[in-house]
Subunit: 488 residues, 2 copies
């Protein structure tokens, strides 16, 4: 992949044995936004949940002084109306309106409503769009839905994606920090899915630069949704939950006290292991251990890699075939009759919420071996499927250790699972138990049997020698110079 | 539904508020088979796994003295060739041949190869079939696959189903017992999916009578595959495994010894609870308890019914949308790279295989409440979806308590999950962890909180007053007068 921009400079980076082009952002580029957005008189930002408040405010601020208007569109009667008014998007000044009106008036429409709402209102949204307008998405779910239903976007619009690698709150907070700290902001991937007038690439890059992305990578909307939907079912949410549940029980069954079992399982991942990865990569975790613990890490890694890869391939195939998205749409229809119950009522999460110790979690070598093996298996799978390294590294590692795990460390894993998007919440509930069973039924018994024969040493050498470590260290260096996680 | 037969008498039965027509079988009807199979010179039985050896031998024996030949068709080089020869299907006497030759020569083709093989070889099989021939299935999976891929059977053949409600070994053993014990045999459902010449119904009934079905119920092939694929993912396999795992841990966490925890969870279901249901229906389980245990049963029932219904609806929707079948086909393709590991390595199944006690399992009231609630939820769901009561009762209750649970009691649940058909094995591995988490995360905490408010009493009154109990007792009375389960 190699894009062309008439407005922004691109720069080549080497990730493993591949080369990618990126665009560095910064406030000095805001002056170029009108040129990149030539022909755009109004940008409609639709919705007001997670990404919309951040992106609408950032975009407006970045375009200050230009003739381009940013206008928020909401459902008639939406409870978010007053929240938008509170930050200056008002009907009085003409920057707030009914969503279909705003869609119909805008040249660039950022569709930032929930996955379910995008699917449910798709026909009306498309009917409202001007021919020649650009539809912008921050996530490929809608394309995944169309693919699963054998449909496609109408041919008379541009379709682009700009996908921030962090929560909406971080997108806003880091943008604000960017006023003082050069390079603060959330990195984005971008994708051009349909380009009918040759303007789509510069519109996408302008969008990324305008919301504060310090470093923008290219992907396709298809690769984006596959890695995103798979990632949250895998290492980002489903796997971390399932692995924690299984290990907590395992430590308990060995006679460990409840608080300690929690610290050695879930907390070890979300605190110590994540910090080590964030600072020194995956190898850094291994290298930080003493020789005896390194052996344990290796044993856990070898026992885990295969079962994790098996499950992750299943998830990827389910996403690729459209099954996973059809399941989400169908589950959403059942929610009224069968609301999702919370998962935090079990012993582990009650312990998490009422700790009796203030000991800090360290790197448990078994927990680390299992977690890192699962992370590697996800990265290797995405590589095998042709995803760009920038996406692999962000979706499988950086988002976990810099954004989600710190949040789960501040609250807890169960809280996160109970409070994320419906798509992610359904996915985590579906796949966490599978990871749990894989660890319980296969990984831990394999470790107990002490078997270390067959392909094992090669498997671990593959880990030590992987290209991924170099790619990760390049991408870690491209991170913003401020903390991404919002903790409070 | 009401079928017409020119050869066999039908009889009306009342199940709940519905009426169904059945055909009673018996050896005195074998003389009518040639009339019912008019125009059929050869019956091809394709495959030699579970159903084929039983059905081929039964059909041949029932047609003795007629001009109709039963010929077995196998893959060239199939290792089953000698097994078929050993029971008299030989190339020498012209009753054994290469499968596509046999398909091409036969007027009625019983396609009894594995689900995966049916899907993989579908085009060749269809190409080999004579126009005007009848394709016979013992399970709706192939139709499920065609539905999921938006295809259908060619219009120039009959398509029928005869689905024995027991394993192949039982179909053969009870047929043999039927020589001496009047009414011994495995009940079947039958379905006419395509009838191009008006002969399909009598062919299906003849097939059922010929393989020894003492009582044959009508369904559709679509209803059959939905209830069958869902049933094995639900109460028959997935649910019984997941519930057992969760309850075993729960009893252990309360300080129970390993052997006792096993007896109170898995073993209580597969032994005592199943026997009680088989003898006295679902109400019989409840009525057998003392008042204090009845309270516990009620509490467990109320806590479980909703979470179980939630999951079962998800499974049903996944089967109906084709997702589940697409998943099976896609998983089968991954098996070479990622073979299924066994699940029996965990503590519970090691305890099961090396018991330290010879105490027998009783009806644990909590285990019984959860299990019966899940069974009820499955039956209620199938009723809501319009399945006939005969199918509901057989697929949700009788198959469990008379066939599968006794087998799982003889071996164990994990052994069953590790040794059933690939379709069922994949399904159980996918859904058991979900049932486990539903019990662990919702049912047990709800019971602990002691909440018994809201719709609870009505929910339990619905159980006590359900039509299902009458339907079950009618169907239990229609069972063969010999033990169905083969234990050894």
């Amino acid at each position: 992949m190699s894009f062309r921009s008439a407005v922004f400079e691109k720069e080549q980076i080497k990730l493993g044995d591949t080369e990618e082009w990126i665009v560095r952002g910064g406030r000095h580029l805001f002056a170029r936004l009108p040129e990149a957005l030539k022909g755009v008189g109004q940008i409609g930002v639709i919705g007001w949940s997670s990404q919309a408040p951040a992106q609408a405010q950032n975009f407006r601020e970045s375009l200050e002084g230009s003739a381009i208007r940013v206008k928020v569109g909401l459902r008639a009667g939406s409870p978010s109306w007053s929240a938008a008014e509170a930050v200056g998007f008002t009907t009085a000044n003409g920057t707030l309106g009914e969503m279909y009106d705003v869609i119909a008036q805008s040249d660039l429409v950022l569709l930032l409503i929930s996955d379910a709402a995008q699917v449910e209102n798709y026909d009306k949204i498309i009917a409202a769009l001007r021919p020649g307008a650009t539809l912008g998405l921050s996530h490929g779910f809608l394309l995944a839905h169309l693919d699963s239903a054998g449909k496609s976007f109408p041919p008379n619009i541009n379709v682009i994606g700009v996908c921030p690698k962090g929560m909406g709150r971080s997108v806003r907070r880091l943008y604000e920090q960017g006023r003082d700290v050069n390079g603060a902001g959330i990195n984005c991937s971008f994708a051009v899915h349909q380009d009918i007038d040759g303007r789509a690439t510069d519109q996408a890059l302008a969008w990324a630069v305008a919301i504060g992305s310090p470093c923008t990578f290219e992907t396709t909307l298809t690769q984006e949704y596959k890695s995103d939907i798979m990632g949250e079912r895998g290492i980002l949410l489903g796997a971390v939950h399932g692995i924690s549940e299984s290990l907590y029980r395992w430590f308990r069954s060995q006679g460990m006290e409840a608080d300690d079992a929690f610290l050695e399982s879930a907390r070890s991942v979300t605190a110590a292991i994540s910090k080590k990865i964030s600072q020194g990569g995956l190898l850094g975790v291994y290298q930080s251990l003493n020789p005896q613990d390194q052996k344990l890490f290796e044993k856990a890694y070898i026992a885990s890699y295969g079962p994790a890869a098996d499950l992750l391939h299943e998830i990827y195939d389910e996403v690729e075939s459209g099954n996973e998205v059809r399941s989400v749409v169908s589950a959403a229809r059942r929610l009224e009759r069968f609301p999702m119950h919370e998962i935090a009522d079990t012993e582990m999460w009650q312990v998490a919420r009422h700790p009796k110790t203030n000991r800090e979690a360290g790197v448990n070598p078994v927990t680390a071996g299992i977690y890192v093996a699962t992370m590697m298996a996800q990265a290797d799978l995405l590589r095998e499927k042709g995803h760009p390294y920038s996406e692999i590294v962000n979706e499988s590692i950086i988002e976990a250790v810099d954004s989600l795990n710190p949040y789960m460390d501040y609250r807890d894993v169960a809280y996160m699972v109970d409070n994320c998007s419906t798509t992610a919440r359904l996915g985590a509930r579906k796949w966490a138990p599978r990871f749990d069973y894989a660890v319980t039924q296969t990984v831990l018994p394999t470790m107990d049997h002490g078997a270390s024969s067959g392909p094992a040493p090669a498997l671990f050498r593959d880990f030590l020698d992987s290209d991924l470590h170099q790619a990760l260290s390049v991408c870690l260096a491209l991170r913003p110079p401020v903390e991404i996680a919002v903790l409070g």
